[in-house]
Symmetry: C2
Amino acid sequence: MKDGLPLKVSDIDTPALLIERRILEINIRRMQQLADDNRIILRPHIKAHKMPYLALKQIAAGAGGIAAAKLSEAEIMIKNGLDDIQIANQVVGPTKIERLFRLSQKAKISCAVDSPVNAREISAFFAKHGQKIDVLIEIDTGLKRCGLNSPKEIIKLARQLIKLKGINFRGLMTHAGHAYAASGKREVAEIGGFEGRFMVETAGLLRAAGIPVNEVSVGSTPTAPHAALIPGITEIRPGNYIFNDMMQVALGVVTVKSCALTILATVISRPDKNRVVIDAGSKALALDKGAHGLEQLKGYGHILKKKATLERLSEEHGIIKYDREEFLLGEKVRLIPNHACPVVNLFDFAYLVDGQKVLELIPIEARGMMT
Amino acid sequence: MKDGLPLKVSDIDTPALLIERRILEINIRRMQQLADDNRIILRPHIKAHKMPYLALKQIAAGAGGIAAAKLSEAEIMIKNGLDDIQIANQVVGPTKIERLFRLSQKAKISCAVDSPVNAREISAFFAKHGQKIDVLIEIDTGLKRCGLNSPKEIIKLARQLIKLKGINFRGLMTHAGHAYAASGKREVAEIGGFEGRFMVETAGLLRAAGIPVNEVSVGSTPTAPHAALIPGITEIRPGNYIFNDMMQVALGVVTVKSCALTILATVISRPDKNRVVIDAGSKALALDKGAHGLEQLKGYGHILKKKATLERLSEEHGIIKYDREEFLLGEKVRLIPNHACPVVNLFDFAYLVDGQKVLELIPIEARGMMT
C-alpha cells in the first residue's frame, strides 16, 4: 500500500473495478484516428465512464467536446474543466430548462429536441434572458426511442425552430442503438451505413428547403466506423468504445483483448464440485444481456482465463458452473462485463492498472447523477 | 422549497426515488408483529434499503439487530449507531477477515461459514488476538447458492467449528431465495414451510450429536411468514418487506397498495401515438425481472394509475407502449419497481413523502458499498 492504494491487483479488496491502461489508451487513440481520418469531430459520450479524468484524456487525444445523457453529468464535467458538451437527450420541463440555461452560462452547451412544444418552452426561457441555445433535432434512425423519422415532420420542426428567438438551430443528431440487436459485423455495417446516409439525406432535404444545417451528428460504438464514412457526417458520438465489453465482442466489433474494463471478484464458496460462488452479483455486474433491453448474450460476464460460465446472479453473489476448471476458495478472478456502462454506474471508483501493477484510483464522479 | 427540499412531489426533479411514509411504517410494523407473535427475533436485512435512517426505524419498532450482505454495509451501519449485525454471507480472505475483526471490536458481529478452510482462517485471526467470533453455518435450503445441504456434512463442519479456538459456534442460517421462482402463494408457503422444518430438523440432528445450537435463522420476505411458524426457528431475516415491489405482488405476498417505494419519472418524448419515453431507464429502474436472475415479470416496472406497459429500457430512457391512456409531454408518472433492492442501490438519496407532501431527504449511505 502507498497512500492507501494497493500496490498489486492481487492486493485489491473485491469486488472492484479495474481499467487496463494500455487497452484504454489504444481504444481512445483508435476512435480518435477514425474521426481524424474522416475529418470529422469525435464527441465521446461520457455516460459510458462518468469520469472527468477519462473525459479529459479523450479531449487531450483530440476529441472536439463531449456528449452527456443528463444535465447532472454535464454539471460534474463542467466543474472538472470540460467546456463543450452536447446533452444528447431531450431536456423537458421548467426545472431542467433552467438548469440547462445555467449550464450554458458556464460552457458551450447544446441539446436535442424532437417536439415543438418542448422547443417553444426552451426558447422562451433563453429568449427571456436575451440568449439562444444551440439545438439539434433528434432523428430516429431505427432505435424507436426518442426522435422523428418522417422527413416531412423533421422539415416542419426545423422550420419552427429557425423562427424561435431563443433557439439556434444547428442540425441533426441520432443514435442507432438498435445496432446492438444486429446478428454480426455485416448487419452492424448495414445499420451504420443506413444511419449515415439517412442523416445526410435528411440534412440535404433541409438545405433544399432553405434551412442551414451545420451539424450532422451520429454514432454508437458499433456503427461509428461505418456512419463516419458517409460524406456529410460532421460528428460521431460513441461512448462504450473507451472500454468495450462483451456486447461489442458478440457483435464482432472487437475481441476480448480490446476490453479495458474488468471486475475483480473473489471465490467465496465452493458448495458443490460443479458450482462456485463469487462475490460479484447484480450489484457489481448489472443484469444486462445486451443494450436497450436486448438479450444477446449468455451468462452475465466473461471470466478471463477460465472455461466456465457465470450462470446466475443474486445481488451480491455470482454463481459459476464449470466442468474442468478448478477454482480455489479465496482465488481472485477477473471478468469482462456484458455491458460496461451500467457497471461503471455501480461503483464509486475504479483502479487504473497496468497488468498486475496498480497505478491510480480514479473517482467516478458522475456516478449516480440521475437528473 | 425549504432548505433546498421541494415542498410537493410534483416539484421534485426526475428521476427520483420516493418512499411513502405510511406504507413504510405499516410494512415495518407488520413484519415486527409477525416476529413478536411467534416470539422470535426479527433481524431485517438492510441490503434492501442501505439507509441507516431506516435501520434505526426498524430497531425502534422492535428488531433485535440487523443483517448485512457486506462488511462495508456493516461499517456504515455501525458508524450510525447500529450495534448488532449479522454478516449473512461468507467472509473470505485475509483482508476481509481483518475487517471482520475490526468490526467485531465495535459491535456485536456474527458471520456465516460453509467451509472448514475459511472457518480455520477466521478462527486463526481471532484466536491470535485472544478473541472469538460468533459463527453460523450457512445451509442451502434450495437456492443452490452458498451453503451446505447434506446433514452429514453439516454435522461434520459443526464438529470442526466447536473445536476452533477463535470461533463461537452459534447455530444455522439460510436464505430460501428460490421462493422468488414460486408460481404463487401456495408454493411460497410450501417453500417457507420446508425451509423452517429443514432448519429445525438439522438443528435437532446437531443437538443429538451433542452440539449446542442457539440460533436457527431463516427467511426471505415471502417465506418469513411461513418459516416463522415452525417451532424451533429463533430468527427471521427478511429485507425487501420494508418496501415490497412487483416481485412480491407477482408472488401474491402483497398488493400494490403495500409497495412503499416508487420512482418518479417525467415523460420526455412522444414520438409516436402508441409510444412515449420517460427519463427513467436501466440506470434508475435496474433490469431485474425477478430475484436471483429469475425472469418472472413482464415489463420493467408498474406504472401507477395508467394502463400502459414499460416495455423497454435504455440506460436513461424507458419506453412505454400504450393503447388508451394519454401521456402529456412533461407529465410526471410514478412507478413501482420490479425489484426494490437494486433500485435503491442506484440512488444517492430518497424522498420520504406523505401523498403529495415531501417530508424529508434520506441519504442512502450504504449505497455502492461493494466490498
